[in-house]
Amino acid sequence: MAYVATRGGERAIEQAERLFRQDLGAIDAARVESIQKTMPYLIDRVMGEASLYSEELAALALAQTGGELSEAVLVLRAWRTTQPRIAIARPVQQDELLTQRRISAAFKDIPGGQILGPTLDYSHRVLATDVLEGKPFTPPAVDAAARPAPSRQPSLANWQRQQGLVAPVNVNAVAPEDIPDFTREPLLFPASRAHRLQSLARAETGGVLALGYSAMRGYGNAHPTVNELRLGEAEVVVRHPRGTEFSAGRVRVSQAEVTSKEKGGYLELGFAATFGWNEVKVIAAATLDLNSAEAPVGSAVHEEFYLYHTESVEASGFCIHFKLPHYVTFQSVLDAMRDAKATKAAADITPVETRQTEPAE
């Protein structure tokens, strides 16, 4: 038919996808394994944004999207949709984490000690061009510490609570199954704290950084001090239907607590945590959390603003949807504009700018 010939829709999309996949070449288990082994921080970032902890699936998503991050996250989130929720894990306490890195900027030393762990913080960021000249880089061996750090570290905030610096915890005993699940219910405002932290946990790293950074630069009302930053591994403890609790495995997690100033006689704390090791994200997210309380509506640190605008899949999807044809809506706008111009030419009304009332569709 005439219409098919002019648009050729089905065939064109098929071939366009083939072209993309052909450029990436064959994907086999070895490629997936290599990505998983060599890019742990990328895998962590993707797992965090996908809210799906599986290094293997994250590596597969990266392989099949060629590292297009928003596509990789989308493909994992969509896969997640098809999976049933069969158990609810026990909440993780800070002092139970197998801690590899834990630092505080608020004190020179802290109970349990400053544990640097693996970091590039103090390295010189020099590109290892020697590798390209045929001289492989072999990392020098790590000298074991004379006294190994304990694998579990106390919570600094707990020490601060004992000192009366931080408000006592308002323990409200919520059964794990009653913790609201952001992926199963709509986000409504004001958001519950659980929803806010869950949404930040899977927010887009760059988006959280941009908005968190705007708060740090002065568009927020609180300048963060890193109270505690922690990279560790958490046991996923679930309950068997017979009642036994057991660990189903471990996940890498990051946590940040930031503080700023006194409120009501106590230091305020902002908090964030996510799957995987991703320090920039949790510091920026904790800064947003810290700033939320007094945020003016519509500002970058207002929770409705930052939660909506750091949602990776929604933001990237809407952005790329502007590539879709919009000629019907455009035609509708043209019609009103032509008619208004014709009327104006007839009546010679002085032009006045009206503000746009139609947001992007």
């Binding site: 829709g9 409705e304 899949v313 949807h321 000629y327 019907v328 455009f330």
Partner: protein, 304 residues
Amino acid sequence: MSLASLTKPWAATSYGFLDASAKRELRRKMLKAISVPGCQMPYASREVPMARGWGTGGLQVTLTLVNPNSSVKVIDQGADDGVNAASIRRFISRVSGASETWDTLAASIVQSRHRVPEEVMGEDQVLVLQVPNPEPLRGVEPNISVARQMHADADYGKLWLTLYEQIVRKGRIMQGAAYPSMVNGRHVMTPSPIPRWDVPKLNMARHLTFLSAGREKRLFAVPPFTRVEPLVFSDRPYRVEDHADLTCRRSNVSGFFMNELPIDGGGSAFEVSDSNLGIKAIRQAEGAPAEIGKTWYRNGEFSA
């Protein structure tokens, strides 16, 4: 009880892609949406294998409704063969076994972006409109919580004021597509970015319409025989696009919403936007059997 009793045998994905709990949530919200026409119902909105903003809200509603006996039509800008329409239709049939159709009359479900078909939809048909922005107040109130309160209070003064300002400044209401409309005399909704031409098709219709925004996680509905009234002042009647006198250069039909195609050397040509209506007209002209149903517009005039 065992772990196995809590879950199900492993399958790569569920029937219709969405798992059973996602479908149940949508069903609950779809019933509430019917019960309060035009009121935006929040839902969790699962990720589907398509980017947000590309019809994921409509898709979730369709996937909840679909079964192997369904017949599904998907259009984008009125066309069945638009790239995204083709992609969505193929996905739906792949995960549900439903049959695909281009014929409005043969479809049990019509999923659409930006158009309502020109042929009148019947009482057992469901129209699923993809909605980019479900909030008609977004232009006057970007904060979603404040806007929600305005709906609760039926406080539409700001919206009326902008429409009035447009008349004062431009001599007419400048709203293009997505014309804000009062549903059942209580909730103002966006009919999704359909042209003004299509809004009357939702008023006191025989079919059921769902409007679903996956990215913004809101869905709403217009049941059959429900009032959908564009916001207009009594002395400034509602005006649809001035397309009544245009003729399609391919199919020769006229009196329907058209696509404008700029042509070399200036001027424009027109093609009917409801592409399958055009195809049917061409077939009829060629002497092939092709039933064109009753249309909402006749000779360019709306006549429900």
